[in-house]
Symmetry: C2
Subunit: 101 residues, 2 copies
Amino acid sequence: MSSAELDDMIKALSHPVRREILNWLKQPEVYFADQEHSLSFGVCAGKIDQKTGLSQSTVSAHLATLQRAGFISSKKVGQWNFFSRNEEVIQQFLARLNDQL
Amino acid sequence: MSSAELDDMIKALSHPVRREILNWLKQPEVYFADQEHSLSFGVCAGKIDQKTGLSQSTVSAHLATLQRAGFISSKKVGQWNFFSRNEEVIQQFLARLNDQL
DNA sequence: AATATATATCGTTAACTTTCGATATGCAAC
DNA sequence: GTTGCATATCGAAAGTTAACGATATATATT
């Protein structure tokens, strides 16, 4: 993980809504129990929009930021886009921070 | 550590110069070997100004940000202000992040 | 093909952050 | 008490980020 990548990651975490989203994705079955689709591909963008209370375009940008940082991935299925955490990346990030901070 | 405090801490880390300063303070004897004063009280603000290459006022603001977040403390001795890391706070922060991320 | 739904992208505005130089404050030395 | 040095604070300019509504794209349904 380069220094620039680390920078992107920390910046991605520096917004409370993005941290909250990451947290929700940790336990989709708790926070998105109402999702019609199976949670196995992840959580549907629209469900996240609802939960934040922010506009659709704003949340789309937050998800893009988290994805650019590597913390989440998306899987497109039909017209939907499902998001889920990249646990290994998150662990790498924490390890790196533990080390370099 | 409250959620607002965590927020301040992550924001404090979200600038590369502030992370760099934290890193320098980890090994003052390596990065500030030229300091005339003993390093036992910490590193003198002016030395940090020099090393960053940024203006005195800018660095003063960065140091204030790190201090508000709790990552560093300062000790005033005469006309000088010496800064040093708060290792316990940093460890608490890392533990919290490990947990909540 | 037309319509509907989900999501991304665009353009704008508002808010926040970083930087600087200038000034203020506080201490020391003369 | 005036001068000099270290640092903090102030005010302005520039850069970055966040938010929104509108629009574009892609898929699904009729």
